[in-house]
């Protein structure tokens, strides 16, 4: 079992206006194993305060599935913060 002190690397994807605010489509970050998606978002909120006001309209995903903000993250996970979708 991984210990809580272990650090893992996850891939983060940005789309739409979030991509414009953060200034990149893709990122790779380290965080404690098992940290929830919410924690990851909060880290970006520190470096990019403009994204915080969009939090209530975002849906998170983990490994191409919609996920709750409390979902724990592990090594190699792919996380995205999805603005309201407008395809079609």
């Amino acid at each position: 079992m991984a210990t809580s002190s272990e650090t893992v690397r996850v891939k983060v994807l940005f789309f739409g206006r979030l991509k414009e605010i953060v200034g990149r489509a893709e990122d790779s970050v380290e965080l404690p194993d098992g940290a929830p998606i919410e924690t990851l978002f909060s880290q970006y909120g520190v470096s990019h305060p403009d994204i915080v006001r969009f939090r209530s309209s975002l849906v998170a995903s983990r490994n191409q599935e919609f996920a709750s903000w409390t979902t724990p993250l592990h090594s190699g996970d792919e996380v995205a913060f999805l603005p309201p979708v407008s395809g079609g």
């Binding site: 789309f15 739409g16 849906v59 998170a60 995903s61 999805l82 603005p83 979708v85 407008s86 395809g87």
Partner: protein, 158 residues
Amino acid sequence: MNNSLQSDLFALVHEPIEQDALIRHVRAAEDGAVVTFDGCVRNHSLGRRTLYLDYEAYESMALAKIREIAVQMHEKYPIHLVAIAHRLGRLQIGETSVFIAVSSPHRPAAFDACRFAIDTLKRTVPIWKKEYFEDGAVWADGEMPPAPLETRTAKPAS
């Protein structure tokens, strides 16, 4: 009931959608109906004149979600085959952004399933459009996909 998911067709394309190919794909001798939906770029949005649109997608997830829609279509309606294509990149007024074709032995199922497909696509598939106007551009107001409120049992990390 035919469950022909393995024969269904899903695509995200950066070139014009080949609508005839999608129709040919779903059309079969045992079907009495092919219903299609052609979603095209409108020249106005909320009273402003639209110049063009840029579409982008979380492509791997979008394809997976489109496939899920087809699974649901087969579960809910007695249809035969499904073809769904969404275009990405810059689209001009009048161009087709999404095209759906559904075949069924009898027409009610194909009509109902096609309507279900476009309505569900617009709510659940991670695709975004930016609308360009004469005086600026905005990301279109979208819909929040239904997401789980609680953590599900996490799959083991790979």
